[in-house]
């Protein structure tokens, strides 16, 4: 079926099979491999992207449902020229990533959270990130990153 949506700021019209997942569309058809697939039960959150500004698991979202939507993947988060988004910068500063596989989903999830939570407690961050699994970091520096990233986003009015 034919859908039109905005992806990382650019309008797009595509014919999508009814069973195609957003993660498959991004990775396999559009070559946006920053979105990762780490499980097959919607548990790990490596595939999180934004649909209309809200974080969703792209492995459980049908591409066909996106007509008229605005989609942002990790590739669309930084400013042109690779200038990091404040949340990306915070992950870098606080060593909030190791192997990098869960990172795109973590960052996208964190940005959604931080928009509504300028000064979150560590407990609130930990609660929000319950749907994103990281095997490397033990989460501690991710929590620090999200707190710092939230502060930076609101300081800059991002």
């Amino acid at each position: 079926m034919q859908i039109s949506f905005t992806l990382n700021g650019k309008p797009l019209s595509l014919d999508v099979p009814p069973q195609e997942l957003l993660s498959e569309l991004l990775r396999e058809r559009l070559g946006l491999t920053g979105t990762h697939v780490g499980c097959d039960t919607s548990q790990c959150g490596a595939c999180v992207v934004h649909v209309d500004g809200k974080s969703v698991k792209s492995c459980s979202t049908l591409a066909a449902s996106l007509n008229g939507a605005t989609v942002t993947s990790i590739e669309g988060l930084a400013a042109p020229g690779g200038v990091l988004h404040p949340m990306q910068q915070a992950f870098h500063e606080k060593h909030g990533l190791q192997c990098g596989f869960c990172t795109p989903g973590m960052v996208m999830s964190a940005v959604d959270f931080a928009r509504d939570n300028p000064k979150p407690t560590p407990e609130a961050v930990r609660g929000w990130l319950e749907g994103n699994i990281c095997r490397c970091t033990g989460y501690q520096n991710i929590v620090a990153s999200v707190i710092a990233g939230a502060a930076a986003m609101h300081a800059k009015g991002a």
Partner: protein, 801 residues
Amino acid sequence: MPDQHMNTPANPTGIGAAVRRREDMRFLLGKGNYVADIKLPNMSYGAILRSPHAHARVKSVDISATLKMPGVVAVYTGADLAADKVGGMPCAWPVVGKGDVPAKEPMRPALAQGKVRHVGDPVAFIVAETLEQARDGAEAVVVDYDELPAAVGVLDAIKPGAPAVFDDIPDNVCVDWELGDKAATDAAFKKAAHIARLSLVNNRLVGNPMEPRAAIGDFDVSRGQHTLYTTSQLPHIAKLLMGNFVLGIPQHKLRCVSPDVGGGFGVKQVHYLEEVLVTWAARKLGRPVKWVAERSEGFISDAHARDHVTEAEMAMDENGKFLGLKVSTVANMGAYLSTFGPNIPTNLYGPLLSGVYRLPAIYCEVKCVFTNTLPVDAYRGAGRPEATFCLERIVDVAAGEMKLSKDEIRRRNMLRMEDYPYQTPVLMNYDSGDPLGCMDKALAAADWKGFPARKAEAAKRGKLRGIGLCTYVEACGLAPSRIAIRLGVRGGLFESATVRVHPTGHVTVLIGTHSHGQGHETTWSQIVSTKFGIPAENVEVVFGDTDKVQFGLGTYGSRSAAVGGSALAKAADKVILKGKKIAAHMLEASEGDIEFKNGVFSVAGTDRSKTFGDIALMAHFPVNYPLEILEPGLEEQSFYDPVNFTFPCGAHIAEVEIDPETGFVKLLNYVAVDDVGTVINPIIVEGQIHGGVVQGVGQALFEDCVYDEHSGQLLSGSFMDYCMPRADSIPDMTVETHVTACTHNELGVKGCGEVGTIGSPATVINAVVDALQHLGVNHVDMPASPNRVWRIIANAGGAVK
């Protein structure tokens, strides 16, 4: 949260500086290059049909319907592999048991030949134009199985009359291994005033790096050249094992590439049969073949870990001084020997049983047993967490029985700094360490003395509070080849590095270690920065491609900095040595008068000097150069074989609260004080320890790989069933280092990748048991899940109705 990394050393990008990682950029921008991201022209897709049974005879495999399906390119079975004389999957580190009887190494074909021996054992490989077509094709393969009874639990498998996993190994015993002086240990037990005894299970785990495994085979028919892209921690070893022992591809015709790899933890140090299938199929088809595991496929195809049943006894004198330790373990190998399988519960386990204690006599025996389950191999810590869990649990049991506090019994038996170097009765010669210093630091950081007040306060809220202490030693820096070869490894365990200085003075490092989260690109640049007095950003680090890097044994066993870093330092020293010769010529001085400091070669006591960049330029444009005695160019290589293992040690403390109504254990506080040797990058070291601790906490409280004991079906085969630690499962922890330098490598580094995982299971369980000791509980098996803990409390009559 205060930034603990504000102190920068003199060189802001050198050793000791908390340099932020350069590799972050591509990962944060979504520009990582993982194997699953790679698309090659004309690529086909593979799917594997796997056994649904734990044990069955394969009577027939009918592929005729699949071959007629749209898009299906080929279907392969074990018969095709046999016809092509494809070898079995090799074991790289078998061991020799009692009476010099070697481990049994039954053939493991990449596709079943005659029998399947675990759920997930591959039966057919289907290649198609698309992944969906390959999966549909797999569903259409008709396999006629003759189901057989399965040997599942490790103790059940050695009972008389148990089903035999292999017809020619009727008792299912792979090897019966021993270490230590049995007679001396028996004698120590005879004079004991008290003997503490403990039975324990070290539960089975699945490592679950977040990136599922993947492999792409490619074949260039014009050059007869194979390329394998694979999610491996050690691409050179994959190349050696697969090329030499499985597919018979000459080493110069095989390239293995491991690009960005999303976590390894030992799971990806195994040479896997999927690597064989895609490489072999790509040659047969003359086009690339890609296979990517789904998570649920990973659960039934990744090597599993741990799975020990152990009886331990500690003999003590009347003051609680340790006289001897006896450990008897049955270890699960699974259905076949994985690459490093039998080495883990033997060589990486028994030699660690002395811990940080003066323990005059130790005897350890380990029976490695085949079962109808996934093969078992390394997982973060690999053998050493199991040894630490055994020792530190029985030390706590001993403390209780001797009426000594948990810190006092350790203090009475612990090695002092002046005891080093210390020869244990189980092979190891510890070069350095200060375990008492680590423990005292941890006791202070955790406010050990204030615990009774916190326990009393918790009791008022109806909660059971416990505190747990654990010390550990780790043997890492694998490995001195001479020792390792004596212990059975089929190859050297050195590491290599090349330092290529460009005409501009910029540097490329080519190194055999592999970074899959450890931040080597940053850390190795810091070593070069310190060596040459140049900014780290002038250094590029290349790894993970056997066509680019000379050779390397890869990354496992916390070896990268101690062995790879040392190789890099030695190669850099060779560059400096050659640089001095060039400088001596340019400055018309004798070589012995040339000093090199902060990036400048100078004649001692004069103001005559040349920069590192001047020398690099002259080496490439040798106009004023001693060509008659010195080759041009500035590139040096080192193959470094360590003289000993390195021995990180430390002390960890955990505090938990148990809700007696639900059995839920809440981890409240965690303190880790570790001696990892010289810290090259403190922020990276701290991150490694955070991650390691949480993996061990995962084993202690959440994770459990469970098979149905009769059918051999995997019951915990997804993230819905296998409980991974989540952000909300754990609190912030306190991490401190207490450094003594390694005495036998130039950098003084020991290793930091596994210390967290080695210390934390025993620490947390010691805390859980401490919370329950008023009920007469002296041990809780892992994971201390609400179900298990509630039952223990209920059985002890302590449950709240």
